[in-house]
Each structure stands twice: as C-alpha cells, then as structure tokens.
C-alpha cells in the first residue's frame, strides 16, 4: 500500500514493476491513468494548476486505500496524484490495484478513483488560452459515482 503526492510525472510501467515485480501471487493488475484534457466542455484549456491540502491529502488517500483493502482482497495498491501546473496531455493521477483475480482488481480501481475524486482534497484551476483563469466546479456525476459504493 502506498500513496504519493508529487509534482513530477510518473512512469506507469516502472511503478507497476516496482509494486508487483517478482510476485507470483498476483493474477490481476488494473492500472488507471488520468490525464489532463485540452478542453473542458467546449472551453479550451491551456493549463491546469492543482492545489492541495498537504498532509490531509496523503492522510485521506491512505484512508481511501485502507478502505479498498478492507472491501476487496488486494495484494498491492498504489495511488499517485500530481500537483502544481500541468498541461493538456499530461498525466495527472495513477491508480494501481493488484489482486489474485480480475474482478477485485477492476472494482477496487474504480472505487479508488471514485473516492479520490470526491474525498481527496485537491482543487483544479484552469487557465484558458486568453490567460483567464477559473476554478473547476465539482461534478454531481462524481458524487453519484462514489455513492454507488455505499
């Protein structure tokens, strides 16, 4: 189990190898990579700035991860979230869930993302090509997605 908040990019293959490499009891690995879109609805986005609440962010991510391990038989997991200024096409979030069988890995990865999006204290600010900025509003669909795990 591990969570990380960092500005630097991550390498999905390297992270997966570091987490699982050499283990023979893991039969299923689901990795999810979230990336920055170049447009939000019709609006062009030049860059995103990710603000967070240091310490609470890691604590909340760890609580979410612990909950996933309580619900599914996971053998390993990793959550990485980037902060600072990011651009369209950049990686923003990585979730890895590893289990003996695929269903637990699929479900745990979806759960981890749904909870990350609705509970981990990160905030996105978009900068438009004009230089104008706007805080991103929370989406009701994300709350709905998280509610299905209750």
């Amino acid at each position: 189990m591990a969570v990380r908040v960092q500005h630097d990019d991550f390498d999905v293959s390297a992270e997966t190898e570091k987490l699982i490499g050499g283990r023979t009891d893991v039969g299923a690995i689901v990795t999810f990579t979230g990336r920055v879109r170049g447009a939000d609805n019709e609006r062009q986005v030049a860059s995103l700035t990710l603000e967070h609440y240091p310490d609470m962010t890691e604590a909340e991510m760890a609580r979410i991860e612990t909950e996933a391990h309580a619900r599914w038989p996971l053998q390993a997991s990793l959550l990485i979230h980037r902060v600072g200024e990011l651009h369209a096409g950049d990686n923003i979030v990585l979730v890895i869930a590893a289990s003996a069988h695929r269903q637990a890995a699929f479900e745990a990865a979806a759960f981890l993302m749904d909870y990350l999006k609705t509970r981990a204290p990160f905030w996105k600010k978009e900068t438009m090509p004009s230089g104008e900025t706007a805080w991103v509003d929370a989406r009701a669909e994300d709350d709905g997605a998280a509610d299905r795990w209750r």
């Binding site: 979230g34 990710l50 603000e51 967070h52 609440y53 310490d55 609470m56 604590a59 909340e60 979230h81 923003i92 979030v93 993302m113 990350l116 999006k117 609705t118 509970r119 981990a120 204290p121 990160f122 905030w123 996105k124 600010k125 805080w135 991103v136 509003d137 929370a138 994300d142």
Partner: protein, 90 residues
C-alpha cells in the same frame, strides 16, 4: 461547553483562500463557539471578505485536524480547522 478561549489555526483553500485573502491564520476562538457552523457565523462577522467567502455556505466543506466533517460537527479540541470548496482532483 467550557468558557476558555483557545487558539486555533484556520486554513483556506482554492477560491476560499482567494476570497478571504489568506491561506492560513491563527485566531483566538471566543468561548461558546462549539461547532463548525458556529465558527462560520463568527467568521462572517469579521469582515466583508469572510462574508464573501462563506456566501455560498452550503457548498463550503470543512475538515478538523485533517478529517472531513459536517457543519454540525463539534470543534472539540481540534487545533487545525480547514475550509475549502468541494474537491475536484482526479
């Protein structure tokens, strides 16, 4: 509730930070403020920037010592109280 005043650290994030004009501050909590909602009532009277920040109070979220809480939550012995908009990571 007891009558002691005590110091707490308040943190503001995202557009709350911008509206309040501060990322954090130490305040002396007056006696009698027992819940997050009561703290917000008190903050709103400290200046127009607070009134502006908490104008859409139903969307403002709070955490006590880095744990999400509801507005009705008791402040208890919390040292750090954070206010922020709904989260938008991922």
């Amino acid at each position: 509730m007891d009558n002691r005043t005590r110091n707490v650290r308040l943190l503001y994030f995202a557009w709350l930070r911008e509206k309040v004009g501060l990322a954090s501050e130490e305040v002396e909590l007056p006696a009698g403020i027992a819940t997050v909602a009561e703290l917000v009532d008190w903050l709103e009277q400290r200046g127009p920037q607070y009134g502006e920040a908490f104008a859409r109070r139903e969307v403002v979220r709070a955490a006590l010592d880095k744990v999400h809480v509801k507005p009705s939550a008791a402040l208890g012995e919390a040292r750090e109280i954070a206010f922020f908009p709904p989260v938008t990571g991922g």
